[in-house]
Every structure is written in structure tokens, then in C-alpha cells.
Amino acid sequence: MMSKRNIVGIFFFLVIALLFVIAALTTHEFGHPEKSVIPDMDDHIIDNTQTETGANNAVTSVVFDYRGFDTLGEATVLFTAVAGVILLFRRLKK
């Protein structure tokens, strides 16, 4: 029972599957990110997190200092979701 829509769907699905499999094959060797590029940005963060941000935890220094603006966006996403959920479950009549 293959409808026309299903065949088109399977075709697109296979194309996308091929993309992801090729991506998995050609990404650098697992555990060795330096095989594709020298990780400048991350090494800079690891070396300077204590002097530049004062934090021992490099991940926290990235989350709140180096990429703090992303975290503002992330907090906003959660705020948006709460506002959205409360909006969806509001009472309709005053």
C-alpha cells in the first residue's frame, strides 16, 4: 500500500539520510579534533579562563562570559516558552 506521497517522502528521506551518513564518514576522527584544525578558540579559553574571567570552570566562563549573549537568548527562550504555555492554558472569558 504505497501511496504517491509515501514514495516522494521515502525519496527525500533517503537523500537526507545519505547526507548525514556522508557527514559521519568525513568528519574528523573521533577524539582528535586537532586532525581537522588546531582548536585555537578553545585552547585560548582553557588557557585564559582564570585570568580573563576569574572562573575555574571553563564551561561556565564560556556560558556566562565569552558567550554570555547566547545565554541571555537561552534564558529568553525559556521565558518565551513559559509565557507561551501560560498563554495557551489561559481562561478565555474574563
Partner: protein, 116 residues
């Protein structure tokens, strides 16, 4: 190729999720599919940042001593992406609840029948 097995896990997660979104008829299964895709992408970010024989990127013994640490940026990105995923999931599930209230079913075909 044997070194790339984690990436194949990523591809498998994403493709299973995509399969659920495209071919499944139940709205909850579609939602599960999206969370699967999201887990796959998160796993990809984390695996990109792993270095062999490294420790977590936290300085425990002052500034002088140096050890090999895994990359911190992908971990931060994954944290952001997980929170975003939670937000999307919450909103999708509330929409599913409303669809159930209106139609009394979660099956896409039955919803289409009701509409016509």
C-alpha cells in the same frame, strides 16, 4: 572508519527521529521524533569537542599546572541547545493537549477526517 562510530550513532539518532516525524501518524510520536533529532544534534556537538585522554575543562589546581582538557565551547553550546529543546518540547506538548481537546484523538488521519 572504526573511529567514526560515535558519528554514526549521531546519524542514526537523527534519521530515526526524522523517520518518526515524516512517516508516523501519531502526534506524540512526531514530538518524540523531534526530540530524537535534537538529541542527535546535541550528541554531535559533544562528540566534536572530545579529545582523547582529556579531563573536563575545569581548573582544579591553580593556574600553573597544565593538563589536556576537552573543548569547552561545544559543552556550552550543548547546554544552550538542551534548554532550547526543553522549551520547544513544552510548547509542542501543550499544543498537542489542545489538539486532543478539540478532536479527541491524536491520529493525524482521524484529525483530517474530522476537518472534512
Amino acid at each position: 572508519m572504526i573511529y567514526n562510530i560515535p558519528y554514526f550513532a549521531v546519524a542514526a539518532l537523527i534519521l530515526i527521529g526524522l523517520y518518526a516525524v515524516v512517516f508516523k501518524r501519531n502526534l506524540i510520536k512526531i514530538v518524540i521524533g523531534i526530540t530524537l533529532i535534537e538529541s542527535g544534534v546535541n550528541l554531535f556537538l559533544i562528540t566534536l569537542g572530545f579529545r582523547e585522554n582529556s579531563v573536563a575543562p575545569i581548573h582544579t589546581a591553580g593556574t600553573t599546572e597544565k593538563t589536556l582538557m576537552s573543548l569547552p565551547v561545544p559543552q556550552a553550546l550543548t547546554l544552550t541547545s538542551i534548554v532550547i529543546g526543553v522549551a520547544v518540547l513544552a510548547l509542542m506538548l501543550s499544543l498537542v493537549i489542545h489538539i486532543y481537546r478539540h478532536y479527541g484523538t491524536l491520529d493525524v488521519r482521524k484529525i483530517k477526517e474530522v476537518d472534512e
